[in-house]
Each structure stands twice: as structure tokens, then as C-alpha cells.
């Protein structure tokens, strides 16, 4: 008993101050939103697009576009670029509300996720219960969603919790490329969540299929019949990126 109390005292209070205080420190090699310096691009060069494992980069007609929903945040494009025109910023904020907002030209600002409409925000803004479904995920997105429930991040201080049954949930948080073998279970789980409900797609797989794009065994992410309210890109997204997205959706970061 005294050992437990002593350990508790020594381990200390560890919940971070974010979002009221600064966000936790990100590692030196952190790969946030990629930045393309097109002023350096030699004419007709498409080395980055060719190197991209998921065809996230378009270089048609000399115009570079990047689909953040497909991007694995790997280093293949940066390594392939002969002019060092590709680098990773430290911007961890990546969550958006519309799939089409994820395809960007280099000069374009990312339309960060807007908050839910007033009706949904009054329902979920201070209490959101989510059911997580892994449907062909690799357990990395799942793990970094799970980490938000640990004391460092303490997701429940925002009124957000993961629940054991879709019947108890206000929405789904989906990870994985949605394997054919999980499609029926995902549909049933979605149907079991009472209306009104929201859906959050976390990670490149859930948004686009990720590395498994166009495999016969998967459905390239959340199927069209399940409307997605929030997309959080990454492979996997950093927990801070996921939390930022959730808080934006609930209107709790509106002025930041």
C-alpha cells in the first residue's frame, strides 16, 4: 500500500497542459505537412511523383499536387527530388472535413477542420462517445488513438471517451483500409450507432487505402455509404494530430 502511494508520488502528475499550454515537444525529425518549393522544380520533372509509393503526388502539366489522404509521410519523394525541393514541415495540424480539401497545390492553405454544426455541437461538444473499429488496420493508428486515453493525454478531460458498444456511441472512429472481410462488420457497427452520429477516419488506410490502395482484398478505406465527418491523415498520424482534429471538430480549438 505504501509502495503504491510512494510510486504514485514519484511518478507525479503527467497530464499535459495542451491545449491551454503549448503542445508537447515534437521530435527533431518529425514529419508534418510536406512542403514543395516549386520554384526549384526543373521543368518537366516528375521524380517525386514517380517515387511516391501511393501515387499521392500528381505532376501533370508541370503542376504539383499532393493528396494528403494518400500520403504516408515517408521520405521517398524528398529523396527522389534532384533539387531538394521537398521537405517536411513541423506542422502537425492536418485534419479536414472534406475529402476534396486534402488534394492541395503547393501554394494552397490546408482548410483545417471546421467545427460541427450548432445542433451537433450542442449534443457532442462536451460529451462525445466513440466506438473504434479497426477494419484492416495495422495496429499503429489504433495504438496512437489508444494512447490518447493514457494519463499523458487524458482524452476524457475533453469529455471524449471510447465505449465498448456501438449502442452506447455517438459515432465511429475507423482505422484501416477496410478489408473485404471487415466490411459487413463495419456496416453493422455503423448501423448500430443511434442517430445522429458522426464518423472519423484516421490514417491513410481509412482515407484512401494507404499502402494497400487498389488491392482486391480491401475497399480503399471507408466506403462511400458511410459518410465521413472528419479525416485525419498520417501513417499513422501523431497523437497530437489526432487530438487536434477531434478538438477542432468539437469547436474547442476554434480560435487557435
Amino acid at each position: 500500500m505504501f509502495d503504491i502511494l510512494a510510486a504514485r508520488w514519484k511518478q507525479g502528475a503527467r497530464t499535459m497542459g495542451y491545449p491551454d499550454a503549448a503542445p508537447p515537444e515534437l521530435p527533431g525529425h518529425f514529419r508534418g505537412r510536406p512542403i514543395f518549393d516549386i520554384s526549384r522544380c526543373p521543368s518537366g520533372c516528375d521524380a517525386c511523383a514517380k517515387a511516391c509509393p501511393t501515387q499521392a503526388i500528381g505532376a501533370e502539366g508541370g503542376k504539383i499536387t499532393l493528396d494528403l489522404g494518400r500520403c504516408l509521410f515517408c521520405t521517398d519523394c524528398a529523396e527522389a527530388c534532384p533539387q531538394n525541393a521537398v521537405r517536411y514541415s513541423r506542422d502537425y495540424r492536418l485534419a479536414v472535413r472534406q475529402r476534396e480539401n486534402m488534394v492541395l497545390r503547393p501554394e494552397q492553405e490546408l482548410a483545417l477542420a471546421a467545427q460541427l454544426n450548432e445542433k451537433l455541437r450542442s449534443l457532442f461538444g462536451r460529451s462525445l462517445r466513440l466506438r473504434q473499429v479497426s477494419a484492416g488496420g495495422c495496429n499503429a493508428c489504433e495504438a496512437d488513438v489508444n494512447v490518447l486515453t493514457t494519463i499523458g493525454w487524458d482524452l476524457s478531460r475533453f469529455g471524449i471517451d471510447f465505449v465498448a458498444s456501438p449502442r452506447h456511441a455517438d459515432g465511429l472512429l475507423i482505422t484501416g483500409a477496410v478489408s473485404n472481410n471487415m466490411l459487413a462488420a463495419l456496416r453493422k457497427t455503423y448501423d448500430a450507432v443511434p442517430d445522429p452520429k458522426i464518423v472519423i477516419a484516421v490514417g491513410a488506410c481509412a482515407i484512401s487505402g494507404g499502402p494497400y490502395i487498389n488491392h482486391a482484398e480491401v475497399g480503399n478505406g471507408v466506403p462511400a455509404e458511410i459518410p465521413v465527418d472528419l479525416y485525419i491523415p498520417g501513417c499513422p498520424p501523431h497523437p497530437l494530430t489526432i487530438l487536434d482534429g477531434l478538438l477542432r471538430l468539437l469547436g474547442r480549438l476554434a480560435e487557435r
Binding site: 511518478q11 521530435p27 514529419r31 509509393p53 495504438a143 499513422p236
Partner: protein, 518 residues
Amino acid sequence: MSMATTPDTPWQRLAVLVNGRALPKSAVPELSITDFQQAILGGVARQCRVAALFGMPDRTSPDALWLYVVLADDDSSRLRLGRTRIGDNSFPSLTPACWQVHLFEREIAEQFGRVPVGHPWLKPVRFHRSYQPGRDAWNRPAEAEIAAGVMDFYQVKGDQIHEVAVGPVHAGIIEPGHFRFQCDGENVLHLEIALGYQHRGGERALAAGPGPRSIHYAETLAGDSTIGHATAYCQAVEALGGIQKSARAQSLRATALELERLANHVGDLGALSGDVGFTSTQAFCGRLRGEFLNMTAVLCGSRFGRGLLCPGGVRFAPDVSAIDALRRSLVRAEAETRQAVELLWNSSSVMARFVDTGVVPRQLAIDLGMVGPAARACGLNRDARQNHPSGLFRFTHIPVATWESGDVFARAYVRFLEVQRSCEFVCQQLDSLPSGAVRSPLAPLAADSLAVALVEAWRGEVCHVVLTDEQGCFERYKVVDPSFHNWAAVAMALRGGQISDFPLCNKSFNLSYCGHDL
């Protein structure tokens, strides 16, 4: 003095290879199916394990299928390989005589439509169509839907017997699988596990490589074992290309592998605490797991080590200040982990739930071919870092941690021992990190060859077997995640236990669903 010559047994005809090397396919002896199976039995009788057993289409003859076997001879640090060519739609099942091939034979049946005749438990593994159209081990019509989890489950009959079905969607944030319990009251008579829900075609797609996606498939075969699978991929490619790695690259790879082990073991110890309601250690370890993930992120920017490894070495190297920061974080996290976990061993309420729960007897662990900490918790001295060392582990040894009791406690305690040894190892590496380049140039891969890479990832032995065609492109890419060997042990550990012990038991193995489903 002359010694009597031993007869030329099929076992002796197998080719010999060491981990992380390649050999021409033609050097792998072609045996008759009888000799092939006798060779496997001969190896198993000499304490070898079946590291891989898989089919490969014969491109010269669509009706034929090659079967390859890789036996791991742990005592002599050697691998033994053989192959056979089957022309029929069936072959005699070896499973009744050698349990550890049970899932391999089911996989061959599912992938290539060849029936292992006499298999006692011939059911689908991942619920997909045969890779050879027109051949189906269950004679399912080509147009019939194949639904995951729909199969003949083993059933116990009787007045008092009831069945409990759980999953594929579970209560926690966890991957999908289906668990079917046959119960007499609270007592579990039998548990059957149906997986395949996570099947994404990763292994199938790897065979089209090497290409831009290959390493990304390897990194996501089981995302919590990114370093383990990426190391195996790189070692196989390097073996085929004759590519040497620098000492610095090898040290960084080994460091990342141990950090991955640390994060997962510490996370598991916290989750086990949570499953018995001991929330202090659950809370402490939940946070500490993140500290170890953050150390991997210091190395490469990704908490899971994405992008760190590449054939030829690593893509990132820490500078002096990063090494210093890592070392300080590690020392602090190790002390805090030890304090948090030692509370478990001194808490009677925890020990009452851990001890004697989910026991896997030592002989059963041998028969099932178990690997990793779950095998070491049954007293088996199995650790690829020691038995089949590659990379840095050829020069630096981490003592193998074992425990005898085979229960939840043993699986927790082995993790605790490994946490301490891995911390010590990583500290040593950071103190003496070699200088120099971290990446060697690539080279074309040897044609018509075969390479084997074994890596002791945190769950156990990751095995990649890669065969190349006459162009030096992959012809077959076989992945064996440690979970593939160990899932049957979860089912066996539950027999005679209570259904309420299932979450604790399952967590004490913490096997991969996607690593199994591929």
C-alpha cells in the same frame, strides 16, 4: 578407428543455410513428398522448429506446386531447407504427426487449393479465394461468396453446454478477430479462434516487388512490429544483393528493434495490470510506453520507426545531442518502469490473478512450435537474437530471459526481464555508437535464389523467405509473423480456464491479428 557411416536420411539431405544469407534455388534439394515429410519429422525429432512451410507455383507447369520448408536448428544456429513438387490436388497431411505444421498446411490449402489429406482441422485461415483459379480445397463454387468467420466451429454438445461468440468487433481499441467458446458454466472446455478479418493481401503484393511499395508493406504487415518486419525485409534484400551494412547502421537497427520491444513490453505490462484492475501500474506504464515510442521518434521522426530502415542501412542518424537526450530519457524511463512494474509482484491481488492462469505446459509449447516471450515463459530457450544472430547480434549478446511456469505471470515476468536487458543494451549502443556512414549502395538481386531472414521482434521470430526469378525479381515472398505460430497456444491456454480469464490471457500473449492475416 573408423566410425560407422550413418544412413543417408532425408533430414541429412536438406540444404544448410545461416540466417541472413542467400543460396541458389538449385541448391535446395528436391525430395519426394515422402522424403520431404520425413525430413521435417527428422528435424523436429532433433529439436528443430518449422520456421516456414509454404507453397510456390511452378511456372513451368500450372498443375504443379512447389512446397518449401525452412527448419530452424536453434542449437547449431543453422537453417535447413528442402522442397518437393506436388502434381496432384492433394498431399498427405503431416499435421497428425507434427502439430506445428497445422496452420501452414491450412494456409497452403487456402492459397493454392491443395488438400492436405488427413488434416484434422482443415478450415480456412484468412477467408480469401485460392490464388490459383479453378482450384479450391473446399470445392467452393467460383462465384460463391467467402464470408469471414463462416465455417464449421468445433462444438461440444450437452445439456449444460453453452456457446459464447465474441467479435470480430471487440470492446476495446483492438483489432478484429472472432472467438467461439464452448462452456460448461464458467469453465471453458474449448476455445476456437477465427481470424482473417484483417486480410489485406500484403504478402501477395510483396511478391510483385521489389518496388516502391515493398518496404511500406513490410512496415505495415504488423504496424506495432514495424522495425521487426522492416529489418527482416531489408536483411532478405541485402542477402540477395550481397549488400554490406556499416557498423553504425547495424547498431542503429538493433537500437530501434530493442526500443520497439521496450515500448510494446511496457505497454503490455500496463495493459495486464488494467485487466486485473490494478490501475496504478496501468496508468504509469500507459504513459511510459509513450516515452519509449518517443525515443524511436527521436531516431527518425516516427513513433513506430516508419521510414527508418532501408535496404543498405538506415535513413536517419542521430546527432550527438540526440544521443545524449535519448540516453537521459532511457535511464529515467527505465527507473520509472521498474518502480511501476515491481508493484505488481508485491501485490497479492495481482499475483492471485496472474499465477496459474492460462498455463501452457512446456511440451505443448514445443509441439505447437511457439516462439517469442510466450515460448520463453514456458521455459524454452528460444530467441533468434541468440540462436540465429544477424546484424549486430552476431557481436553483442543479450541474455535470453526465460521462466518456467507457462502462466500469465511467466509471460509478464519474462517481459519485465527483457525490458531491463533491452534498456541495458540500448544504453551500451548509445555509449559506443560507431561512426561512419549509415547507408550502403544497393546492388541488383541475385537471380534464381532464396534468402531467409529471421528477426527476433518483440512478439517473437519474424521470418521472411524470399525467392527470386531469373531476372532477380521476387517470385515468392513468404512472411511468417510470430503470431502465426502462437495463436493456437491462446486457445490451448484457455482450456479448463474460466471465460472471465480470457481478456487477461489474451493480453498476456498480445498476438497480432494483421500480422497473422497479412
